[in-house]
């Protein structure tokens, strides 16, 4: 193992060590100190993360860094061949960036928690829960970082469950409160549903790809597709439903995505996240905004190479639905944390949607920017809640900007970032402006520019005379088509090698030319097959991705609409909390803020601004994307400075087909519209909003949204109630029909027979017979009872005697 891997491992183990320390000695360490102990662990992680990040950014030969050795954790002997489950550190740009992000955000949150939990931790029987909180947090930190460095899906799953456990523990931290423990259970059970799907996907991976290692699995997947073997050759019936090979591969992808659906709270399983706000606010910031819920997106990014186009489409649909409904619900929420929770859901929907449409780097970019600003906003809300003495209702707040200026203005930065504040056409903007824009741009491409880019080439090249280029027609077909696929910047570098990439303008023209010939992918693929064995841009997977659907128009327009809704509800939240006149004098009077708690806010605000521009620092952008394992990434860089780079990214040259150009017109100023509308409505307190609510149809919609679109009711009625009804009905029926029936039948029959024959038999010589039977039974009982002495030694003796007899019999038989 190299130094970087060791540093990563140390960073993972340090919080675990602190967990052990706090678990065993926490009650002795005491109240403020145990928090600092936990901070020590996470600072070690941050140090390691920084070391690795700097090393990664300055490294020239990144492929050499990525070639890590692993240790066989256990070797399974299955299917006639040995399958090692390897423990290996995954070291690539994605891991490094995510690791750094998680370490930085959690350091801030840990520090914040010391201030926050000081007032929140003495609530069970006067028992100090302070150290327990940090104990759980450290365990979570360990699990999350472990998840990030796992190279095998198996270990990823292990850490996946560990973060789930930590989430459960921390949501139910105030377990003496009924709602908190209920919320914890809800989160846990909902996650189990998703994890069940994950497990099924894992089984399919295990059975068909025969490995857990991500790279190896992707290579096997590609190979199986190319040779039409393995999972693609499967042809099975599941409950009478015929599933082809491709269908099974899609099922595998969807199964893996189910895990992400649970953790990232996507559409059918999104109900747990708002309830999870029952946990302490730093937990909401760390787990339910910045890191754990993003792990679902991370998982999709990791298994992206195993996703078929259908699976990707499924993911996109789920993401689209999630981002829409949750943003709508967020409009009407009055609890400050609930608003943030629903906005988190919506943004997660954006990420998943981006993944689904193939905007791999854009979604991850959004993930990182979102982590910073959402963690910051959650901490800000925690500050508000702490300052207002556990009041979470925004209707009682207002005018807090004087009392807590730092919180107010850092929160405002967060609002700007999530709203997509920026001047279109320039490089001036914050977080969401760049990241959301990229997701939408790719969606635009997939909606409007898709057909004319690929339709023609499929006809011309796919089955044309260039088949001679490669081994099998199937592969050849894909390669040729993949050549036309838009490639992410990172992939472009990979195809040409890093030295060519450095000379930007030189390589760009060349590449642009090659792309149009549809050969570069063949070339790059050959080089790469020799090298990394199915690493980044293998042509086959690229081919699979090239079959991606042209997505329907509503899937482009819904996110666009939500891009207008997001600034509205965020601004509403901010304005109701901080601006206007104080609506509750008592709350306002007590409000204050403490330095231990606003210092992390400032760090995170700086992080938000810095992360916004990550994509424009070539080094950082590469760090996220380069050499990571996306097979095909349909990426559209946020701002494309010149034509050469434009070509490099594979975008069309025409101005009218440039997605960014189109998007400026559509959503460029959405932030202004949304935020302006919110200010207009909430400028003078809540009266205007109340009046709007009283409008005839709006009232009904408001009610629907307040009831969270009835998801909880539906689940409660259909799933819980249904199960109850079915079970109770079935058991009732069984009781009445079968048990009672048999009993009644027997009873009635007995009565009849007794009536019929009783007199005769009784009066006959039956009594004597009965007596005789009774006597003989008693006698036999007495006889049989004798050896039943109840003494264990006698039983052994009898047993041995039996053994002797049996042995004697056997010997007699054998001898004769």
């Amino acid at each position: 193992m190299g130094n970087y891997e060791i540093a990563l491992c140390i960073g993972v183990v340090a919080p675990l060590f602190m967990f052990a320390v706090l678990a065993f000695f926490g009650h002795r360490i005491g109240k403020p100190t145990s928090g600092w102990v936990a901070v020590l662990g996470v600072l070690a992680s941050l140090g390691c993360a920084t070391y690795v990040l700097l090393g990664w950014l300055s490294a020239t030969d990144k492929a050499a860094l990525m070639a890590t050795t692993g240790y066989d954790w256990v070797v399974l002997n299955l299917f006639g061949n040995e399958m090692p489950i390897e423990f290996k550190v995954k070291l690539d740009g994605l891991t490094v960036m995510m690791y750094f992000m998680v370490a930085l955000v959690s350091t801030c949150i840990f520090v914040f928690s010391i201030g926050y939990m000081a007032g929140h931790s003495d609530e069970v029987d006067g028992q100090c829960k302070f150290h327990r909180f940090f104990c759980y947090l450290s365990l979570f930190e360990f699990s999350m970082l472990g998840l990030l460095i796992s190279s095998s899906i198996f270990f990823l799953f292990v850490f996946w469950e560990l973060v789930g456990l930590c989430s459960y523990l921390l949501i139910g931290f105030y377990f003496d409160k009924k709602f908190a423990s209920n919320a914890a259970m809800k989160a846990f059970i909902t996650n189990r549903v998703g994890d069940f799907g994950f497990l099924l996907g894992l089984m399919l991976v295990f059975v068909f790809l025969q490995t857990f290692d991500l790279d190896q699995a992707a290579a096997n997947f590609r190979h199986q597709y190319a040779t039409n073997s393995g999972i693609f050759a499967a042809d099975i019936d599941i409950l009478g439903w015929h599933v082809s090979g491709m269908g099974l591969a899609t099922l595998m992808g969807i199964g893996l995505f189910c895990g992400a659906m649970g953790k990232s709270a996507q559409f059918p399983l999104h109900v747990w996240l708002p309830d999870a706000m029952a946990g302490p606010t730093p937990v909401s910031a760390l787990i339910h905004a910045a890191t754990m819920v993003a792990a679902g997106v991370y998982l999709v990014a990791r298994v992206f190479r195993l996703l078929t186009p259908d699976a990707q489409f499924f993911i996109a649909v789920i993401g689209c639905i999630t981002l829409t409904i949750t943003a709508l619900i967020a409009i009407v929420q009055v609890d400050i944390k609930k608003v943030l929770a629903y906005s988190t859901l919506s943004q997660l929907g954006y990420m998943i949607f981006g993944m689904g449409v193939g905007a791999w780097p854009a979604a991850l970019f959004h993930l990182i920017t979102h982590a910073f600003f959402k963690a910051m906003m959650f901490l800000g809300s925690g500050q508000v809640i702490e300052g207002c003495h556990h009041v979470q209702d925004m209707r009682k707040m207002g005018g807090l900007h004087k009392k807590m200026p730092v919180t107010c203005w850092t929160f405002f930065i967060g609002v700007l970032a999530i709203a997509g504040f920026g001047i279109p056409g320039t490089h001036f903007g914050l977080g969401g402006f760049f990241s959301k824009d990229e997701v939408l741009a790719v969606a635009y491409e997939r909606t409007y520019n898709w057909e004319d880019r690929f339709g023609g080439h499929e006809k011309d090249d796919g089955h044309g005379a260039e088949n001679a280029h490669s081994a099998t027609p199937r592969e050849d077909d894909l390669i040729l088509r993949s050549g036309k696929v838009i490639l992410a910047s990172g992939q472009v570098h990979d195809e040409h090698g890093s030295e060519e990439h450095d000379a930007d303008e030189h390589g760009a023209d060349e590449h642009g030319a090659e792309t149009s010939h549809g050969e570069s992918a063949t070339h790059g693929a050959a080089a790469h097959d020799a090298g990394h064995g199915g690493h980044h841009d293998d042509p086959v997977l690229a081919g699979i991705a090239a079959q991606q659907h042209k997505i329907p128009k509503w899937m482009f327009w819904l996110p666009i609409i939500i891009a207008y809704v997001t600034p509205f509800y965020m601004m509403r939240c901010w304005w109701m909390t901080f601006m206007g006149k104080p609506r509750d004098g008592h709350v306002h009077h007590h409000a204050h803020e403490s330095p231990l708690m606003w210092a992390p806010l400032i760090v995170l605000a700086i992080g938000t601004v810095a992360a916004s521009y990550m994509m424009f620092r070539p080094q950082l952008g590469e760090a996220a994307v380069i050499a990571s394992d996306a097979p095909l990434v349909v990426a559209v860089d946020g701002e494309v400075p010149d034509k050469a780079q434009h070509e490099l990214l594979g975008l069309s040259h025409d101005k009218d087909k440039d997605p960014h150009g189109a998007l400026i017109g559509i959503v460029g100023f959405s932030w202004l519209v949304g935020m302006g509308l919110a200010i207009l409505i909430y400028r003078n307190g809540l009266e205007l909003a109340e009046r709007i609510k009283r409008l005839p149809f709006v009232g009904f919609i408001h009610w629907c949204l307040m009831e969270k679109l009835f998801f909880d009711h539906i689940y409660d009625t259909v799933l819980v109630g249904g199960t109850r009804v079915i079970l109770s009905g079935a058991s009732n029926l069984f009781d009445i029909l079968v048990v009672d029936g048999i009993a009644n039948l027997l009873g009635r029959g007995t009565v009849r027979i007794a009536e019929f024959s009783g007199n005769i038999m009784d009066t006959g010589g039956v009594d004597g017979l009965v007596d005789a039977i009774a006597e003989s039974t008693q006698g036999a009982g007495e006889m049989v009872r004798q050896p039943q002495t109840g003494k264990i030694r006698n039983y052994i003796l009898f047993g041995t005697t039996g053994a002797v007899l049996v042995l004697a019999a056997i010997i007699a038989v054998v001898m004769s």
């Binding site: 070797v75 030694r793 003796l797 005697t801 002797v804 042995l807 004697a808 010997i811």
Partner: protein, 210 residues
């Protein structure tokens, strides 16, 4: 009776030493080029010495076993059991199962036996408490056990065991044990570890102070 047993037990000590000397494998140089270099015996000595050791071993096992059968005092029985266990361990050395031999010593002689004596001490009211058994029971047990032993011996002596005369007999190495436990026997190994945990909790629960 007592005098004879005492002499047998006293004889055990030099006997044990002598047998360990003879049974322990041939030592060799410090390089790890071959099995014998790692202190692993590849074949028994054979011949007279092995026979003598076997008979001594068997003698101790049977003598102390008989002493257990005849003894009335529970602590003495435990001490005789120690003789049996130690001699069985030596027999494992003879059978080239060094590891099983030492495990027998450390787990049985060092752990289980002490536990037994501990149990005796905790549950005996007077050191000389004896529970007499009825003569009829003794006779019945004797007859049945004699029949059982006779039949088993008949089978053991008359059966034709498939012997691999040409296969190389190799003593066990720790590597084999490790690999075996983590591959073919992984499931029983894990099951036993769970079982041990359960037993630990169960024993603590049952023996706790009310």
């Amino acid at each position: 009776m007592t005098l004879r047993l005492k002499k047998i037990l006293l004889l055990m000590t030099p006997l044990a030493i002598a047998m360990f000397i003879a049974a322990a494998p041939v030592h060799a140089a410090d390089t790890d080029l071959s099995l014998s270099d790692q202190g692993i015996q590849t074949s028994a000595d054979g011949g007279l010495l092995e026979a003598l050791m076997f008979y001594a071993c068997a003698g101790v096992i049977l003598a102390s076993g008989l002493a257990i059968c005849l003894s009335k005092n529970i602590v003495r029985m435990a001490v005789y059991l120690f003789g049996t266990l130690a001699a069985v361990a030596l027999m494992y050395f003879l059978l080239l199962a060094n590891f099983i031999g030492v495990i027998q010593l450390i787990v049985y002689a060092g752990g289980t036996l002490i536990l037994l004596i501990f149990g005796v001490m905790l549950t005996s009211k007077s050191p000389w408490a004896k529970f007499e058994v009825k003569r009829s029971e003794l006779i019945a047990a004797g007859v049945v056990c004699a029949l059982f032993a006779g039949m088993l011996l008949f089978v053991v002596v008359n059966a034709e065991w498939p012997l691999e005369t040409d296969a190389v007999v190799v003593g066990s190495s720790m590597t084999q044990f490790g690999t075996g436990l983590l591959t073919n026997y992984l499931v029983p190994f894990e099951a036993i570890s769970v079982l041990l945990l359960v037993v630990m909790i169960g024993a603590a629960y049952m023996a706790r102070q009310e």
